[in-house]
């Protein structure tokens, strides 16, 4: 398919038309991010006046200076790291051994255990019973509650199980001949072989933890414990009503819009840093696990 000259004229028009449309879609995906970055680097006055379209007007870092001077910003940033790292490790600790056991054909009651996982993908009790349960377990307003309460996701377990099932049993047999127990088989043979699948699931966990908002908002009352997303939401919602803030507005180079944009940029940056490294895995990971069955 490499040689364009092989194509008829109609094919060439089709190919170029197609590239053009994909290009337009891609630019429309990219533009809002560029726009927000430009707002965050403009002065409050220019942003307010609607003069920012593509590039910063009257370049200034004032909004960033305001953001990094807020202790709550750093506190919530740190909290997000705690929830992301703790939550992802917790998820892997539950999912990897569990999925390995589920993938072994000799596991007694295997159909039942698998059904137990799959059922949660189709039916869950919903908001209120989940909330009441967290409260009854004493997990409101606690770091641990957020970390453990969302550790397992049925889809991730099935993805991991399917991957383990795809590994030829000769690997396990060889390791067992050498006297390895189940834990050694999993840790020394299966985990190294399953790296792409583990990376995929880790990526899903990291992303959902980093972005987690609703339950953090509902379960955490203590503002010292809230993650970045809740802080961001709170800031967007209250900044424009903040009397102190609007009083300083006319003497400062920042505004509600530029500060909001600056916090948005700050919270996207870590995602952008980690994204290229893990992106190469998830295409493969989804094809491996998702389409099967």
């Amino acid at each position: 398919m490499a040689n364009m000259n092989l194509y008829s004229r109609g094919d060439r028009i089709f190919v170029w038309m197609n590239m053009f449309l994909v290009g337009v879609f891609t630019l429309s995906t990219l533009y809002p991010f560029i726009y927000i970055a430009a707002i965050s680097l403009s002065t409050g006055f220019e942003a307010r006046a609607g003069n920012v379209v593509l590039t910063p007007v009257d370049l200034t870092f004032a909004a960033y200076e305001y953001v990094v001077a807020q202790p709550e910003f750093w506190r919530s940033y740190l909290n997000t790291f705690i929830y992301t790292i703790g939550g992802t490790l917790m998820s892997l600790a539950f999912i990897i051994p569990g999925a390995y056991a589920l993938s072994r054909p000799r596991l007694y009651g295997r159909r039942f255990w698998n059904l137990m996982v799959a059922f949660t993908m189709w039916f869950n009790a919903g908001l209120i019973p989940f909330f009441l349960n967290m409260r009854d377990l004493g997990l409101l307003d606690s770091y641990f509650g957020i970390i453990i309460g969302f550790a397992v996701n049925g889809f991730n377990v099935i993805l991991m199980r399917n991957f383990f099932e795809g590994i030829p049993s000769s690997f396990e047999e060889a390791a067992r001949m050498d006297g390895a127990n189940e834990f050694q088989v999993l840790w020394k043979v299966y985990v190294p072989l399953a790296k792409p699948a583990i990376a995929t699931i880790a990526l899903f966990c990291i992303v959902s933890r980093w972005n987690g908002f609703f339950w953090a908002m509902v379960l955490l009352q203590d503002q010292q414990k809230v993650p970045l997303q809740v802080y961001l939401r709170h800031t967007i919602a209250t900044l424009s009503d903040d009397q102190e803030f609007s009083d300083t507005l006319f003497t400062q180079a920042y505004s509600v819009e530029t500060v909001t944009a600056a916090i948005i940029v700050c919270s996207i940056i870590p995602v952008l840093l980690i994204y290229p490294f893990l992106q190469k895995y998830f295409n493969k990971g989804i094809m491996l696990g998702g389409v099967k069955e």
């Binding site: 490499a2 194509y7 190919v15 197609n18 590239m19 994909v22 879609f25 891609t26 995906t29 991010f33 726009y35 927000i36 707002i39 307010r48 003069n51 920012v52 379209v53 539950f94 569990g98 056991a101 000799r106 007694y108 137990m116 996982v117 949660t120 189709w122 039916f123 869950n124 009790a125 919903g126 908001l127 209120i128 019973p129 909330f131 009441l132 349960n133 009854d136 453990i148 550790a151 397992v152 189940e182 834990f183 980093w210 972005n211 908002f213 609703f214 997303q229 809740v230 961001l232 967007i236 819009e257 944009a261 919270s267 995602v271 994204y275 992106q279 295409n283 989804i286 094809m287 389409v291």
Partner: protein, 317 residues
């Protein structure tokens, strides 16, 4: 009956209990690995299902789930006499319907378009970029939407101004909520959802295309006659999944974008449950709304699956 080596004869089947004891002895390590997962599921997903009974109870925090008195279907009766609930139900169906109608074909179209790109670098870069919004939190997306649609500073009103129109307070206008919400959803997820179809396209046998080339087919014809029919099963499966989730409007985004002025068109069942239950503390009443939602969703997915199995031989189970 035992033979000389002490083994039971094959005519004497071990009892169920003995089999379980044997397998426990042999595979105790596997069960040890499985146990945390099963305990987690029981504690965090199955125990709340038991707690669903509050939908049929006059729930009191002090008495707890088990000891609160039963009241039957009273909450459900109240629910169907509640204008706000009926409005939320109607909004859920309308938003889901349009999201499905407009949002479902877009990722398929995108996947087909990506598949027709020959330039490898261009393909890689565009794909990487359109997946990106999926990984950005709804709070940030909502922040971007609020900024972009703001009446004074927003780019949308700036552009409208270029054409000589008055600025519109989009997010306070009920008639604008749905287009903005649905458009945002497509913008955010269409790219990432195309992965599934790209995976399906990757699985199409190359020999089909080779023989089509020999027959002189154009790229357009190959797309219509080979690619689309080949990924039809995937399309149908995704459609079943989407129909099953039709009442699961992504309420996080709605909570972030709506305000009392737009409840008229924006309030859905899940946001209604959030306000009635968690904010107002009417747990039992809100749980009833949640149960109604879940049962309808369950029925929808089972019916969609059954219809698909009958008419297209493709199904989820």
């Amino acid at each position: 009956m035992t033979d000389s080596a002490g083994h039971k004869s094959r005519f004497e089947q071990p009892s169920r209990v003995e089999r379980i004891v044997d397998t426990l002895k042999r595979d105790w390590q596997l069960y040890l690995m499985l146990a945390p997962l099963v305990i987690w599921l029981l504690l965090f997903l199955y125990k709340p299902m038991y707690g669903l009974q509050v939908a049929f109870k006059d729930y009191s925090i002090f008495r707890g789930v088990a000891n609160s008195p039963w009241i039957g279907f009273e909450h459900f009766e109240t629910l169907f006499g509640n204008d706000q609930f009926l409005r939320a139900l109607r909004n859920t169906v309308i938003i889901s319907f349009w999201t499905l109608l407009i949002g479902f074909p877009v990722p398929i179209l995108l996947a087909l378009m990506f598949n027709e790109i020959i330039n490898h670098t261009f393909k890689k870069w565009t794909q990487t970029i359109v997946y990106l919004p999926h990984f950005i939190s709804s709070v940030i997306i909502a922040g971007i939407v609020i900024t972009a649609f703001s009446p004074s500073a927003g780019i949308v009103n700036t552009v409208i101004g270029w054409f000589g129109f008055e600025p519109v307070y989009f997010l306070t206008r009920a008639e604008w909520f749905r287009p903005i919400f649905i458009g945002t959803g497509i913008w955010q997820e269409a790219g990432f959802q195309s992965i599934v179809y790209l995976a399906a396209i990757a699985g199409v046998s190359p020999t089909l295309y080779e023989s089509a080339v020999v027959d002189g087919a154009s790229r357009w014809q190959m797309m219509w006659k080979i690619t689309i029919p080949s990924i039809m099963p995937t399309i149908i499966i995704m459609l079943i999944i989407r129909i099953g989730n039709i009442l699961e409007v992504s309420f996080e985004m709605i909570i972030l974008l709506y305000q009392p002025a737009t409840y008229e068109t924006a309030d859905v069942v899940n946001t209604f449950i959030y306000r009635q239950g968690i904010q107002a503390g009417q747990y039992d009443f809100a749980a009833a709304a949640g149960l109604f939602n879940a049962v309808i969703a369950f029925v929808l997915v089972i019916s969609a699956n059954a219809l698909s199995r009958r008419y297209s031989n493709t199904s989820l189970w």
